[in-house]
């Protein structure tokens, strides 16, 4: 008979161990899945997790891609994790990411073809503002009318996608683009380009911002009273009110901050790797960042590692599609499994497994 026994205190070892265990379980079940698909399982796993970093043939291209993909994931996940610690579930980072890209791109394009060095900083601020505004909608609706921020923020993703389609065909369409939808290419315009700081490393300004955000979040959550209040609100809302924390302020702060970071991630993407506002600009970073946040235990350093791992599955997945012809959906399945196994193994943080004689009832 197997049963679970509640631990007196959450286990520190398991808090660290469950993500590792989840990765291993994903590899095993993923291997089984590839075997059923008729692909060699070990080779598939190696192509996804090993080749992007160490294969002599691809690594020079795929290694910089790791930072390019991890940057936005980490930046968004850091913002989300702060809200999640307070029990504020911003599921709509994808929408804030899109709006950040639109606001930032629009702010830059308004000055085209100036070559002032102020344009890029202005775009960053505009991007942050765009994400902030989009996140304020669920925040204000929740504080004023007690609506559910999960639903509102999620539905606003679809609104943002509609806005994106509209502006790429009308407002922000490249006047010299021969009628094709999509804006001017920001990465080819000196004043607005989000360049690599170190050539061929993938390290652009957005990645740097993500690293700064990791440090900022770490200091906020462990040293500052605001971080303490956020954690308190998540763990014991009644105790937080007793301590004098205003719940509405925490909601505004957490949604606002995560919206700003997602908006900045969108701007860095549109001004760099993506280059332009187009109908299919967004690629699901805002949703994948939710997995990153949980996989990283909502801890800044964990999110840094989880973001890199998740970027690896993106790149490795593409590589596996190319080399082995595995279906594109299997990568999403992989990422989904990762979250699934993480949540499943999380039970060991608060419970221990006992095998043996059962208690009565």
């Amino acid at each position: 008979m197997i049963r679970l026994e509640k631990r007196p205190q959450p286990s520190k070892i398991w808090t660290v161990m469950t993500p590792v265990l989840a990765v291993f379980l994903t590899m095993i079940i993923g291997g089984v899945m590839f075997a059923i698909l008729g692909k060699p399982p070990l080779e598939a796993i190696r192509t996804i997790f090993w080749d992007p970093l160490f294969n002599a043939q691809f690594a020079s291209y795929t290694r910089p891609q790791l930072l390019v993909k991890a940057g936005p994931l980490i930046l968004i996940a850091i913002g989300l994790s702060i809200g999640f610690r307070a029990g504020i579930w911003n599921i709509g980072a994808e929408g804030q990411y899109i709006m950040g890209a639109i606001f930032g791109a629009a702010a830059g394009l308004a000055f085209y073809p100036s070559d002032s060095f102020l344009i890029f900083p202005l775009m960053i601020m505009a991007g942050a503002f765009g994400g902030f505004v989009w996140a304020m909608i669920p925040a204000i609706l929740r504080t004023a009318f007690r609506t559910n921020e999960i639903l509102v923020s999620l539905m606003l993703v679809y609104v943002a996608e509609a806005v994106l389609a509209s502006v790429s065909q009308n407002l922000l369409r490249n006047p010299e683009g021969m009628g094709f939808p999509g804006s001017r290419n920001l990465s080819q315009w000196d004043a607005s380009a989000n360049r690599e700081i170190i050539a061929n490393s993938g390290m652009h300004w957005g990645v740097l911002t993500a690293f700064v955000a990791v440090i900022f979040a770490y200091v906020l959550m462990t040293r500052h009273i605001q971080g303490f209040n956020i954690r308190l609100t998540g763990e014991a809302p009644r105790a937080a009110r007793f301590a004098g924390v205003m719940p509405a302020r925490i909601v505004i702060f957490c949604l606002g901050l995560s919206g700003m970071l997602a908006g900045m991630a969108g701007l860095f993407e549109v001004a760099g790797p993506a280059g332009q506002i187009s109908i299919d600009f967004n690629s699901g970073y805002g949703f994948t960042a939710i997995i990153v946040a949980f996989l990283g235990r909502l801890h800044p350093v964990g999110i840094l590692l989880a973001g890199l791992l998740m970027a690896l599955t993106y790149i490795g997945g593409e590589l596996a599609q190319l080399m082995l012809g595995v279906p594109g959906a299997s990568i999403q399945l992989f990422q989904g499994m990762l979250l699934f196994f993480l949540l499943a193994t999380d039970v060991f943080i608060n419970f221990r497994l006992r095998i043996g004689q059962a208690e009565a009832a």
Partner: protein, 505 residues
Amino acid sequence: MDDILLGLIGLTKAYPGVVANDDVSFDIKRGEVHALLGENGAGKSTLVKMIYGLVKPDSGAMTLNGATYTPTEPRAARASGVAMVFQHFSLFDALTVAENIALGMETPPKPRDLAQQIRNVSENYGLPLDPDRVVGTLSAGERQRVEIIRCLLQNPQLLIMDEPTSVLTPQEVSILFQTLRQLSAEGTAILYISHKLEEIRKLCDNATILRLGKKVATCIPRETTAREMAEMMVGSSFSAPSARARDLGEVALEVKGLSLPAPGAFGTPLRDISFTVRQGEVLGLGGVAGNGQDELLSALSGEQRSPAAMIRMHDVDIGALGPTARRDKGLLTGPEERLGHAAAPDMSLTENAVLTAARRENLLSRGFVNWGRAQSFAEKVIQTFDVRTPGAGTAARALSGGNLQKYVIGREILQQPNVLVVNQPTWGVDAAAAAAIRQALLDLAAQGAAIVVISQDLDELIEISDRFGALNEGRLSAIKPVQGLSIDEIGLMMGGAHDMEVAHA
């Protein structure tokens, strides 16, 4: 002897790190009221859980009516004629009395038959209860009747009652006792768990006393003084709080016509509450649970704001201030619910120190928490109030109820409040720790703080308060000096007269 109903022989149960019951043996006779006495953590709960089939003993045996009795689950225990009324009720607020009772039955009869059965039992045993009432509208005493009637419908041979009087007014207690005596006269044995010694002396035929999991003594309560029983429980003599300070200063806290709507569907509105507390004075506010205690505490702590002039401290209106601003002015509070309200369960004691002491103990600099200072404050609380824990890094939920209570009360007292309001400061705390907490409150008053103690423990209030008032349905009775107050007067102040004349008329 064939009048033995339930025999316990050498029952032992160990949990990781603690032996909850060690070789406990005693007998319960048919039709007797048997008291089980002990401090918190003495092993009373584990013992009755074994009898009720919730926990399986590691070793030892039980007999029921001379036959071996090994219940594997509560259903088996009920089938053998053992029923239990828990300290915390398991009732659904939104359902009626009859629906709640039907939910607990294996094969509930038709609703109309069940309602009739409920009426019969409630008349036979003097427990007035309408089967069609919605449970959310019942008082704590009436809810307990629901649980008792639920048990009685099974015609039990043994009825286990876990601290049944902690939520009752004196009048409700006397109704309960008459019911229990009637049951006992009809041959039902009752295992009565309590640490209210006077009650046990009035009601019980025999008592078994547990300490640290072992049976340490038996006695006949009618022939033993409460003090002797208490000393058997604690294992040493403990001191009653010393005499209280008598020189009162100026009015520190004034509540004037405080009225607030109910916070939720099952909350209690506060209606026109007025009182004053002077420096050095302890004001005791009694009342049965659910009559506005939580709401009053929230209104005083600042969690619930009120019009500014309804609450005044030293002639300054503070009703509109939040908890932080009130703490800055020296008004500190200790809510009833330790885990989740006074303390965050998964946070360490150090982090829980920051929860209320951040500003008064100067634990912040420019918004950054000084964790070193927070830890030394937490350690000071642990040391001063004898909190038994491995250290300040322990999560609050890992502490036993009594230890955590000492910690959260100590945390407020060490911040040197001008006014301290506490709700149920010794609820679920063992006798020695309760005495220590009461003494600390009295010491604080002697230093010139004004103290409001909200409690359901009348003995406690009479022991430490200078003046006494009672909450009933969100109203506060007139406040009277404790000296010269009789228990009947207190009962009337608590509004206990309501609904009583029907019973045992």
